[in-house]
């Protein structure tokens, strides 16, 4: 077992490692390319160019075009791993996302029923698609929705992560991300307004959708485990800045048993499983424990999550990951400010282990220089036994 692997595992199992591990979400072409000093793929430029985009419109209408997109997304998983290794991170959230389908040069769908705008960032990288609306509004839409590509996902995920684990697994603790979470895949393909009605009045329909995705997620965990990947990340934004989007009781009623099945599958396979939920998740922390997750990310500071309070509440049962602000700290803060934010986070949550430092999200404007400072500061303040702790820590 490598030092990095042991360090991350210690933190996940709530022991004190030699130092606080650092991880990142390798979710943006722009950040990965900037780290590796690579030029953006010409696809981005072509999509923006009026003449080339006409050509792309014709290309995307051809039957084999999905393979082209899938290949680009597979390349992205490798790119993320290489960038994480270059940054000397201990762990990384790597996305394997062969789920996007261009309709033309401006719009795309995903295999789950989201309609999105194609997005290209300022540097010309393909950026995360911009969600517009859901295409599955009724049980009839759901029944008619083609599921072949969804059912093939575990096999693709298994193949890609096998390659990545073989190439980078000795230098990185990999958390596989391979699909949106159960809540997100329940609401986004139908839209939040439609979901709010269904959550009250069409529970049978919703339960059918949730069960389908829970089965798929269990298969994805199996696929990741079979590829030798040690971690899995379940991304479900259950909250926003004021707290959970649904009552915690309703979340538990609709999703609880499925989260438990997922975490039991991971545990049986020896895979560590992380719940990612943006927003203010304070009132959900006990639920994350009861559903069986090993860790929670990102404990978003701008949504009002108090890291020290979270540590006090569940730190003896749940590893805490994240908390570095991407609004200011990792975008345009000074070196001193980045160091201070890292020192504070470690002071709040590092005591006794059970903490992994990470940005609280990703976006194309995150500064690679500030990410480097984050790593540097974690080395300075994160060595156990910890120094520089606040008394309240």
């Amino acid at each position: 077992m490598s030092d990095k692997h042991r360090r991350v595992l210690d933190a996940l199992e709530l022991r004190e490692p030699d130092r606080v591990p650092v991880m990142d979400l390798m979710n943006e072409f722009s950040t990965c390319n900037a780290i590796l000093e690579k030029k953006p793929n010409p696809l981005g430029k072509m999509l923006r160019d009026p003449r080339a985009s006409k050509l792309m419109d014709r290309l995307f209408a051809l039957p084999g075009s999905a393979q082209l997109t899938d290949r680009e997304m597979e390349r992205f998983t490798h790119l993320g791993a290489a960038a994480a290794v270059r940054m000397d991170y201990d762990a990384a959230w790597l996305s394997c996302f062969p789920v996007l389908r261009f309709r033309d040069s401006r719009t795309m769908t995903d295999i789950f029923g989201r309609l999105c705008d194609v997005s290209v960032d300022a540097a010309g990288n393909l950026a995360n698609p911009i969600y517009r609306e859901g295409l599955i509004k009724s049980p009839a839409d759901w029944n008619a929705w083609p599921k072949r590509d969804i059912l093939r996902l575990p096999e693709k995920v298994n193949r890609v992560f096998r390659e990545v684990q073989q190439a980078y697994g000795d230098r990185l603790f990999i958390f596989a991300f391979a699909n949106y979470g159960l809540f997100e895949n329940a609401w986004q393909p139908m839209g939040f307004e439609r979901f709010a009605v269904a959550a009250r009045k069409e529970k049978d329909f919703l339960r059918r959708v949730i069960r389908f995705y829970a089965d798929l997620h269990c298969m994805l965990v199996e696929a990741a485990a079979d590829a030798g990947v040690p971690g899995f990340i379940h991304t479900d934004d259950l909250a926003y800045k004021s707290g959970p989007m649904l009552s915690p009781r309703l979340i538990d009623e609709l999703f609880g048993e499925h989260y438990r099945r997922l975490t039991e599958t991971a545990r049986a396979l020896g895979v560590k499983i992380v719940m990612h939920s943006c927003g203010n998740t304070t009132s959900l922390l006990e639920h994350f424990v009861s559903w069986g997750f090993d860790a929670v990310h990102p404990l978003e500071p701008t949504a009002g999550v108090d890291l020290a309070a979270a540590k006090r509440e569940v730190g003896d049962r749940l590893c805490l990951i994240g908390n570095l602000d991407i609004t200011h700290v990792l975008v345009d803060a000074t070196r001193e400010e980045v160091f201070e934010a890292v020192r504070q986070a470690i002071s709040d949550a590092g005591k006794g282990g059970g903490f992994i430092l990470a940005p609280d999200h990703s976006h194309p404007d995150i500064s690679v220089q500030r990410l480097r400072w984050m790593v540097e500061a974690a080395r300075e303040y994160g060595a156990y036994p910890l120094k520089n702790q606040d008394m309240r820590g």
Binding site: D117, E193, V197, A199, Y240, L246
Partner: protein, 210 residues
Amino acid sequence: MGEYMERVKSALANLEDDDLASLLREALEAGEEAADLLAAMSEAMVEVGERFEAGEYYLADLVLAGEVMKDGVAVLEPHLSAGDKGAKGTVVICTVKGDIHDIGKNLVGTMLSSAGFQVVDLGVDVPADKVVEAVKANSARAVGLSVLLTTMVGSVGEVVDSLKEAGLRDGVKVAVGGACVTDEVVERYGADAMGRDAVEAVRIFSGWME
């Protein structure tokens, strides 16, 4: 308040009635006035807002109430006179350029409609010139901007400046809301107010339209 009014109000406020539309049809057939039924629903939405602020209702409950309200208004619509609808004035709302988060913006729109405003919703990722066009075309007196991405807060300033350039700023108030909005954003970009949630947004616009 008559029996039907009470039933309509409690069905919506308690989110308990599975079919408010049928209840409204029954009330209309029984001779109730559409405008009174609309008023009962608006009162119920105020109560829903209060329960949301008190932490008893969650976001999904507020959104559900808004959807039920919309279905109800569709039933009443043919029976309402022009004066009954949007009597409080016109508000243009959107999510700013570069930002596509729309759940909060949609909710603010629904709550404003429920409270009697005429709402012109321009959608998401809306550039400043489109806002100005819509303000002109609808003689709107207020604009509501939703912004969740820090990288896009500058779009608020662009709307304020464009309204100034078009000579409209003095007659048009601008409120902002969304995850990354602070008092400092309001001040820096010259907006007039900030709404922490949809209920506060209704309060702000109601104050301006009095």
